[in-house]
């Protein structure tokens, strides 16, 4: 039974750790499917986290926090769009720039506004998104097997967790069952064809980037308002890049993205859980190895040793109308 409880606990923290990855990964999916590489997921999450925690602390409302997070994150996405769509700049350079501006400005503004060494004030209850207890979760708590699974794994998360997982089928539906999704995929593969059909390439790509901004904003809000009770500097700690890795791992497909994020979340959860304790058969594994594993796996996948990851064809290429 101990073993079983331990597994449930690891899976529970897997879910918690994979939510920001999943949101950021789906965010990247929108922009990359539309043909815009986005290295700036990390930065957009960071400004989202900062804006969310600041607004929630100042206005004493979790919802205002979430709204601000989304708004600021979308604003950064639009800067990326302005540089890479309107001015046809290098998308990777623009993404790198956004990451730096985000990293620097959150620390400087946080220090100037709150004077707590780059932190925002600790959020009080009501300023954070609380865990939702599902009906009957307490009642079945003592039932073996079902109790822990229903009570810990399924119930007891914040609304943003459920939102993140609901976004998976929703994104699938948008991408493969709506006109907007079809056109978005087309613009990522062959923008000239979309242009010929009389549809604005730029406007489509801007809309895809707005979707990206919304989702990274929610991802940031999750980090600072659910996982942590406030913003801490550099709190994204490379999650944007892991999300990018997961996106490649998932071959730009929503359902795969969920599994890739759960896998990377599980690796993280296992690394925390196993710290120092030996594994059966393999023996003691250094924590750093577990932490590096998502990156190594992505490199191996990219190298084409586990299937082939083929990115959207027009990704990274600014669209120039023929004249």
């Amino acid at each position: 039974m101990d073993m079983f409880n331990a597994i449930v606990q690891v899976l529970d923290s897997t879910i918690r750790l994979s939510v920001p990855l999943l949101l950021a990964c789906l965010a990247g999916l929108y922009s990359e499917r539309a043909g815009i590489f986005d290295i700036g997921l990390e930065g957009k999450m960071l400004v989202g986290a900062f804006a969310g925690a600041s607004a929630a602390a100042v206005f004493h409302s979790a919802l205002i926090g979430l709204g601000t997070a989304v708004l600021i994150s979308v604003a950064f996405a639009l800067v990326h769009g302005f540089a890479s769509i309107t001015h046809r700049g290098n998308q990777i350079v623009s993404g790198v720039a956004i990451n730096f501006i985000a990293a620097g400005s959150t620390i400087i503004l946080g220090q100037a506004w709150f004077q707590q060494g780059g932190r925002t004030p600790a959020l009080q209850p009501g300023e954070r998104f609380e865990a939702i207890t599902w009906p009957g979760a307490d009642a079945v708590k003592d039932v073996p097997v079902i109790g822990p699974i229903y009570g810990e794994l399924i119930s007891g998360h914040s609304i943003l967790v459920y939102f993140a997982f609901a976004m998976v089928p929703f994104t699938w539906w948008v991408l493969f069952r709506t006109r907007f999704g079809l056109r978005m995929r087309a613009v990522g593969e062959n923008p000239a064809a979309v242009d010929t059909a009389g549809i604005s390439v730029a406007w489509l790509r801007y809309r895809a980037l707005i979707c990206t901004g919304i989702l990274t904003g929610v991802a940031g809000a999750y980090l600072s308002m659910v996982q942590n009770g406030g913003f801490v500097k550099d709190m994204t700690a490379g999650k944007g890049y892991i999300a990018l890795a997961a996106l490649i791992f998932a071959k730009w497909k929503p359902v795969n993205a969920m599994f890739a994020c759960l896998l990377f979340g599980f690796l993280d959860a296992a690394a925390i859980r196993l710290q120092g304790s030996p594994l059966p058969i393999i023996g003691k594994v250094p924590v750093q190895f577990m932490q590096a594993l998502p990156y190594v796996l992505t490199v191996v996948l990219l190298a084409g040793f586990i299937g082939k990851a083929i990115p959207p064809r027009a990704g990274g290429v600014p669209y120039v109308k023929e004249r």
């Binding site: 590489f37 290295i39 800067v79 302005f82 540089a83 890479s84 001015h87 046809r88 700049g89 290098n90 998308q91 990777i92 350079v93 623009s94 790198v96 720039a97 956004i98 990451n99 730096f100 501006i101 985000a102 990293a103 620097g104 400005s105 620390i107 400087i108 503004l109 220090q111 100037a112 490379g238 890049y241 990018l244 890795a245 490649i248 250094p286 750093q288 190895f289 932490q291 590096a292 990156y295 190594v296 992505t298 490199v299 990219l302 190298a303 084409g304 990851a309 990115p311 120039v320 004249r323």
Partner: protein
Amino acid sequence: MSTPYAKLPAWADYGLIPVINLAVAFIVAGFVVMLVGENPFRAAVILVEGAFGKGTGIAFTLFYATTFIFTGLSVAVAAHCSLFNIGTEGQAYIGGLGIALVCLSFDSVLPWWVIFPIAIVAAAAFGALWGLIPAYLQAKRGSHIVITTIMFNFIAASVMVYLLVGPLKPAGSQAPQTRNFLAGAELPKLNWIIELFGAKIRSAPLNICFLLALVMAFLVWLLIWRTRLGYEMRTYGHSPKAARYAGISETRIIITAMMISGALAGMMALNPVMGDQHNVAIDFVSGAGYVGIAVALMGRLHPVGIVLAAILFGMLYQGGAELAFEMPAISRDMIVIIQGLVILFAGALEHMFRPYIQALFASVSPKSVGMQAVKGTGA
């Protein structure tokens, strides 16, 4: 597809436009300073005085600039071959490992002038090796170099943390770093050069690596514009198809460019490790690799521009430290914002003002832009 932008006179292309882009970046940074509630002009004065006001300040500025020359050159060499090497950070980190191995093995038996060349080779070799794997994967397996180099930065960080809290840490020590090097692995300082001009210096870490950086800048210029290899790299960077048609091996050119880039990145580690701290500590690169991207873009990938841009960023680093004393609201992280803005305006938005400047030139003197080119500028 033709380039969507017409030609400008060279001085406007290489002088005016970068200066305008830079000015806009600094104006936006000024707004951030205002947002924080400080006076941006006073901040600028403190910054410049902190960097160049005293001898010690100048020495520190040049010390930081040394680091950025290496990383800027590293990014630029790859960029000439149209490879975006974001992995400079990781390559420099692993370069530090090479230096650590050399210094820890020989510092008790050899003098610095023997260890230094060995350390240069080790740093360059380790850095090059860390650039080789992504290069090979790009050339042979078609994996995107930007993604792989980012992944390799994280892998490098994990490897170094593992080594520095484990095998490389001296027994009984708590700090995650190697033992301090002995005198044999300490590089001579260059502060006397500044003292020749009458300035007083209270211990600054400016060291012989500064000269090495200048030599490397010259060698990079020689490589890119005066050798066959450099010509091939630029050809490939301009048009991979043309390069293939001309019989240039894609694999060879990608791997060579990335290894040179990685070697330059690795050599960056000499400056802080052997010149200043005399040990290898966790995260000693601390973002210098990323600064290299800004430096390379600002210097327009030319070694002279890179040296100037590196000195500017050295000034920002040193002056930023002074600024943090005078205006507590502005910490050194202001540099990160400026760096981001420079990358945005000098890199991603480098063409933003070009149509306006072209229109201006066309109305003042049509000949300078060429009439035919003017016709094609409608964006």
